[in-house]
């Protein structure tokens, strides 16, 4: 947790006209593809088959069904993995729709079984009239809209996964709760600068034991984490679980309607890397579960999402910076990939030399990321 100030000024209360909507559509049969209807996407643990890879510019619908055994995600990426639209948390046997506005251009359609890594990628071509030349102000406006779509999708998944985690804790299912702990936190950590901009909620949800003032009760994820890993028990945790869900729902409701400006995106991207450098590399964040690398990965992914949203504007103003960002994001993901195990990460019980290596790549990335705000602010 932290007490960052960059996003504190974010005004809340404006509902966005979301360009991408996700909808649960479990019972709908797969439409036959006549070239105009929804694109059906058959996702499994090892494949990502689209009924067609050419669509017309404008609004497209992707109907994603998960025939695999792992929870999957579906993304449409523009250049540099800029998220045009995504659906999170598609469980085995489920089907969800992604409705997304796509201008003419080349894209990637990506399934992420297990919700990790680069995913299974294929081309997607959007044809139609050439996109109108947009000015930089429009690009920046699109950047905030794009990032707000991302925040929204993460917030939805955060609530779903936290509900599952809380249910497991209250059912006394220690093993399931332990498995869901880092998964639910992934969505929290991806949008942490936004989530923690809502004042008192961050300490209630994410305080570590030494963040608590004498006389104040310690609540939230880490309170439950301690019981799960130190005592291997959920005894006495029901009330903290209930409170966590209440607090998370409050954050989610606020995050869905948060209105951000481009500078806040840039600063949020930097703050996420600060979080990695101060809390995750040291192993302070998840000191009982040692699931720090999940949080590490999620912070960097969240940082990347904000930067990618700004990418078209950045590309116009400082192409060399974009190139440095791409290189260094890759380096960080490569460094953390070494610790993958199954659908997640090994416990963070690493040597100081290994911590130092991770720290070096994060520092290497944080420097160019810290330069983004000034480029964005330039008129």
């Amino acid at each position: 947790m932290s007490r960052s100030k960059t996003l504190k000024a974010a005004t809340v209360g404006v509902v966005l006209g979301l360009a991408a909507l996700t909808a649960c559509a479990e019972d709908q049969p797969a439409a036959t593809d006549d070239g105009t209807g929804p694109v059906t996407v058959k996702a499994t643990d090892s494949s990502c088959d689209l009924s067609r890879r050419d669509v017309k510019s404008g609004t497209s619908t992707f109907s994603v069904s998960n025939g695999g055994s792992k929870v999957t995600e579906f993304y449409v990426y523009a250049e540099g993995d800029r998220v045009m639209g995504e659906v999170e948390n598609i469980g085995p046997g489920l089907k969800r729709d992604l409705i997304v506005e796509l201008p003419t251009g080349k894209y990637h359609a990506v399934c992420k079984p297990g919700m990790v890594g680069d995913g299974i990628r294929g081309d997607l071509t959007v044809a139609g009239d050439a996109p109108a030349q947009v000015d930089e102000d429009t690009l920046l406006k699109q950047a905030t809209e794009s990032y707000q779509r991302y925040v929204n999708s993460q917030a939805v998944a955060l609530e779903q996964k936290t509900t599952e985690f809380v249910d497991a804790v209250k059912a006394g299912d220690v093993a399931k709760a332990k498995a869901l702990f880092p998964v639910s936190r992934t969505y929290w950590e991806r949008i942490e600068p936004v989530a923690e901009s809502f004042g008192d909620l961050d300490p209630k949800i994410d305080a570590r034991v030494n963040d608590v003032e004498p006389g104040t009760e310690w609540t939230g994820y880490h309170r439950i984490e301690q019981a799960l890993w130190e005592k291997n028990s959920t005894a006495g945790m029901a009330k903290y679980a209930d409170q966590l869900l209440v607090d998370v729902k409050t954050v989610v409701a606020k995050a869905k309607v948060v209105k951000l400006n481009p500078l806040q995106l840039a600063n949020g991207a930097k703050e996420l890397l600060d979080e990695v450098a101060t809390g995750k590399i040291t192993g302070e964040e998840d000191r009982y579960s040692h699931t720090d690398l999940w949080d590490f990965q999620a912070n960097v992914e969240g940082s990347q999402a904000a930067i990618q949203a700004l990418r078209p504007a950045l590309q116009k103003r400082d192409a060399a910076l974009v190139s440095a960002l791409d290189t260094n994001f890759k380096a960080v993901f490569a460094a953390v990939d070494k610790y993958r195990e199954g659908d997640g990460f090994k416990p963070y019980n690493v040597t100081d030399a290994e911590k130092k290596q991770l720290g070096q790549v994060v520092d290497g990335l944080a420097e160019p990321v810290s330069k983004v705000a000034a480029v964005i602010a330039k008129k």
Binding site: E213, N267, V369
Partner: protein
């Protein structure tokens, strides 16, 4: 030190000549012998001595020197008389050290060849360099070992846990603390080293901290220095010229409780690690709003000069406070802390690197006050809760010490405590 003659010791600057060494040092010859108890000559000479004796201990309102060596000791003897004997020996040595003299009868190089030198010798040839030595007693000294439990001042509380504290027990606490400040780092180290040596068998060093640059000024004659965040620090610090305020805020008054502390002061020491790498990636504008001052001038935001009065009510065009509500200078200001002030004399430190590719850098915070319960504790409670600076710092060491009043010739450090 009852015998002024004893205090003459051996002048470091005159030593080589006196010992008949063939090579002159080329030093103009500091007039060490003129500095006897009672002769006020401090601060006139930048390299000169600061008077050790007086109504208050030196090293508190003394214009802050450039360098620090701070040491906390555990008392290892369980015998009260051994502890008292040590304090007497320390006091005698401190009087010599602060005068720029070798300790002992023979000093560093004039003793018998068969004996280890009394003085460790690394300060030979160096001036007094305004060395001050200031002693304080920690809460743990007032347990059952020495029969002092009844003398523990109510103000010498155990500090509470502040939000975010990440204290290393090996860098916290201590039965006795000695603060050595000097304009020459080797002079400060020499003092702590020799006091530690005198103490072997009776005390052991618990932790020690070097500081390489002052982060406060305690005199209007001094410029305001910068901390490792690059900001001027201590602009509004208490200054030695503010005699009335020092009585109100720094010096323990008769009737405050624990009469042996009258004329003394309470020291809070905090090792504050700074995440300087993170700070350095933060925009100038954000750095300034976090602190509440301009980085260049040190002026409060919205003002032009460092010493312009702070207008906390001033608003920007958008209606936001010019000095943000969560800025450091607002939260720490006496106006929002029931008038509580601190005399700060902290130091920058960089203790190498932390093994993770980052400098182990920060601020060794030292603050003197009349009553920590009304000063440091409420101020830090507020800062720990709401200061945005907490993103960039964490407190990793902590100590609180009762520093008694000054030593008069013939008395020793803590004499009134053990009376």
């Amino acid at each position: 030190m009852s015998d002024p003659a004893e205090r003459k010791g051996i002048s470091r600057r005159g030593l080589i000549g006196a010992a008949g060494a063939a090579v002159a040092t080329g030093v103009a010859g500091y007039a060490a012998h003129s500095v006897l108890a009672g002769e006020a000559s401090q601060a006139a000479d930048a390299n000169g001595p600061v008077e050790f004796h007086g109504p208050h201990q030196a090293g508190i309102v003394t214009a802050v020197q450039d360098r620090l060596h701070f040491a906390a000791f555990d008392v290892t003897t369980t015998k009260r008389d051994e502890l008292v004997a040590l304090l007497k020996e320390w006091t005698a040595a401190a009087a010599l050290l602060t005068a720029g003299r070798d300790i002992g009868q023979y000093g560093a190089v004039n003793g018998p060849g068969e004996a280890p030198p009394e003085d460790t010798g690394e300060a030979v040839g160096l001036p007094p360099a305004r060395l001050t030595l200031t002693i304080g007693f920690g809460p743990s000294l007032f347990d059952k070992r020495f029969g002092l439990a009844g003398k523990r001042p109510a103000a010498l509380v155990d500090l509470p846990h502040f939000i975010g504290d990440d204290l290393d027990p090996n860098r916290s606490g201590g039965d006795i603390a000695v603060q050595a400040c000097s304009d020459d780092p080797q002079v400060a180290v020499h003092a702590i080293r020799n006091l530690a040596r005198i103490g072997f068998g009776r005390v052991a060093v618990r932790y020690s901290q070097l500081g390489f640059g002052r982060t406060s000024s305690t005199s209007r004659a001094q410029t305001t220095p910068r901390n490792l965040f690059g900001f001027k620090d201590g602009t509004n610090n208490l200054k030695l010229e503010d005699a009335d305020k020092l009585e109100q805020q720094v010096w323990v008054q008769p009737g405050d409780g624990a009469e042996w502390m009258a004329g003394g002061s309470y020291l809070v020491a905090r090792r504050i690690r700074m995440n300087i790498e993170i700070w350095d990636r933060t925009s100038l504008g954000e750095q300034e709003t976090i602190i509440g001052r301009g980085k260049g001038t040190g002026a409060p935001l919205g003002k032009a000069d460092e010493f312009d009065p702070i207008d906390f009510a001033a608003k920007n065009a958008d209606g936001e406070a010019k000095i943000p509500m969560d800025s450091h200078i607002r939260l720490a200001h006496p106006q929002f802390n029931n008038g509580a002030e601190l005399l700060r004399r902290g130091y920058n430190f960089v203790d190498g690197s932390d093994g993770l590719g980052r400098l182990d850098a920060g601020l060794f915070f030292l603050a003197y006050q009349r009553d920590p319960r009304k000063q440091f504790i409420p101020v830090q409670t507020q800062l720990a809760r709401t200061d945005t600076l907490n993103e960039y710092i964490h407190h990793v060491g902590s100590g609180i010490f009762a520093c008694p009043g000054g030593v008069t010739p013939g008395s020793y450090w803590g004499e009134k405590l053990f009376a």
